[in-house]
Subunit: 242 residues, 4 copies
């Protein structure tokens, strides 16, 4: 691993080209907005990638030099090639790359394959969300207050079809009577995964300072560990030790 | 769900046809041996299925009337069709069918897809294994002693590439200096999954009474719950409640 | 363990003697109301116990013949003797007695000692609560719908000072913007513990059929397991096995 | 929190005064040996404390300026005052102090009170232990190989009477046929707890470089988080937010 955390922010990047409401909030794309605030950290170097880039944005030379991959996708999950999903899975399971699934990435192919889930949930109109920090000792919650309010965010609600998270850090309250496990982690193979709910394309959540703090914390948490051995070498035959 | 638990024992069923050492121990096949002891329970009705049966043993009319599916595979994982894996996954995630992965099923397509894992591990020669019961309050451990010995079992060893189990019930000690999470559960979608290590094709573990007790317990534990609602209806839009 | 589940419902039983609002809802006491609906189950035999009974309601002959103990306390936690707390702890840890902590029992001495927690939380006025069933495959959620509404319940809110539960089954949404882990389990020693939030003394929640179903399910889930060995025999010296 | 991690190494410190076998290995005491290797880290400042020191080694001015407390005790757990245990518990639960329980501290009053456990286990003669690193992505496993051998360590064995750990990092194999959850973490209140098995007073495990690396990693992991709010303010009444 290089000195700096090598971050790649992947975005479907279609809404912002075709919908005025999305472009107005994210003129440089959602990935551009996320990349902009992450780039302010001297311990990170950030690249942007999009579905319509060559190699769907993640040819080997990029994927294999990525320490933490952030993923935002929504309407075009099906276009992501299975062979790319498989390369991402290996990179997480075997090499320990971090993966941060944002908002509608709950339904993305990589998230579902990595975690083992349909990712189904209930969803509804944009409304007030209050995010509760219920595990303040977790590194991803560093500096995050007890709760904060997002005045407008898309409703995502339980029952959320995910395995039990390894850590349940944030819980969302919604004006219309719903709750959601808004920020949760999963350990898979050598890698670390964080799912975080805010970020509908027509809501300004990625401009919220607390949301930015959480995503920044998550990048640092998700970077590959200082492994003492090759975590997943396949399935070798081994001789007696004792 | 019918009154009885509808159990299907699926077996690759190749070793027992071609290897004398396996046939000597399991003349009716591994599935035959497992089916025989399960059938003694009045609350279960048991069917056998094999890779070389029509529809790879699990056409819709069988799979969709199975409450708990046991899976033993080893050398021919790759022959199992992806379309069958997907049907099994839906049946577990959406309908709550139980799935019991036996021995080398750690590398089977359904186990890996269901759980989200490579299933890699270390392996070695047959040797003495001592199985420790470390969660005696779990239903799968009912009536199981503190420890029991398998005089000859294939070495499967850590690091086992699985997500954190929902319950870690049995831990294996091996003569050659290795340890293994020998009996572990995973909750995925609506369904329950149990992985249990013993059962190499040339070892008589499925004739061991404690192993039989554990598998019997696991079938009862893994049967579909009495769901109060349709667990995974997809991702519907929902109106305000409050 | 006897054929029937031997249930003891313990209640502080002071509010109902001194406050008209509580007595109006629970004329036979909260324990009386809970005992009444549990007694309808042919697999349970139910006794009532109260703080002001001899031996604080739980002399050895009662405690040691109890399979599942339900506990409701509120204003007089401090009066419960430490020696009783220690006997309850042993009965749970060593013998596997179930313990169901109701509502303000989050602050009771036995709950805090058993689980390892301060049990602190935020609280507020009575208001509408919507309870979400997020783990429908759990036995305690059997037959429970996706969500149900309690028109009036006391606010209990995150951050709830508890260790990570072994299962997080119910999540509460509150009208005033708060969320709470409303139904959670803990495994401790040989025993099973369930905490369930509803049940303020001036709210009729124990008359709600879904609440009754959940508590009934919890009693069945929490009964002592069919242990294959003496779970906690102290710390004996042991000779070589292998 | 000061810039440096303020570490206090507490030791019963009786064996090393009275037993030649212990003194030969730890002439400055077990706490002296641990303090010596921790002090080499420029990010730590280390103090030593012993049972026979004034205030049992942990008067308020020391305890309240400790970020991470290491605890080694064995034969004299009962002498530790309940009032000190309660102060430690508050410091962990409320302020987020880290607590590292070493070897026979599984039976210490603070460990049992913090975690909610009897801490009982099986134990036996000194023998070869092989420690397996089964969660290499955890910060406490940084740089730790797949396995390492302790030629002589006291047998501690399952069933270990602890709640489910928040992380199960190391698993121990013992020559005599036993296994043990040798390195496990617990989150309690605002604080982080690590239990680590090696360290019998007549075994040189604290001179082992991998053991030293693990304890050093654990101190960094266990230091108080950068809390965004006062984790446990008691149980305040709160007004409507929404």
């Amino acid at each position: 691993m290089s000195e700096k955390i090598r971050v790649t922010v992947w975005n479907e990047f279609r809404h912002e080209k075709t919908e005025e409401a999305a472009r107005a909030i994210y003129p440089e794309g959602i990935h551009g907005a996320i990349g902009a605030f992450l780039s302010k950290n001297s311990d990170m170097e950030v690249r942007l990638a999009a579905l319509d880039d060559p190699g769907q944005g993640l040819p080997d030379e990029i994927l294999n030099s990525t320490d933490v991959l952030l993923w935002w996708g929504h309407m075009h999950h099906g276009e992501v090639k299975d062979e790319l999903v498989e390369r991402i899975r290996r990179r997480v399971y075997v090499d320990g790359m971090g993966f941060i699934a944002l908002h509608s990435a709950h339904h993305s192919k990589p998230f579902r394959a990595l975690v083992g889930a349909t990712g189904n949930l209930l969803w509804g109109d944009e409304q007030k969300e209050i995010v509760w920090n219920i595990l303040p000792s977790h590194p991803i919650a560093a500096g995050v207050p007890q709760h904060f309010t997002l005045p407008e965010e898309e409703l995502y609600a339980e029952p959320f079809q995910i395995p039990r998270p390894d850590a349940h850090i944030f819980e969302g309250w919604y004006e219309h009577g719903y709750v959601f496990r808004t920020g949760v982690t999963f350990l898979r193979g050598a890698g670390k995964i964080f799912y975080f709910q805010p970020g509908h394309e027509t809501c300004p959540s990625y401009h919220n300072e607390t949301v930015q703090r959480i995503i920044t914390n998550a990048v640092r948490w998700a970077k590959p560990a200082d492994f003492g051995y090759k975590v997943d070498p396949g399935a070798p035959w081994v001789p007696p030790i004792a």
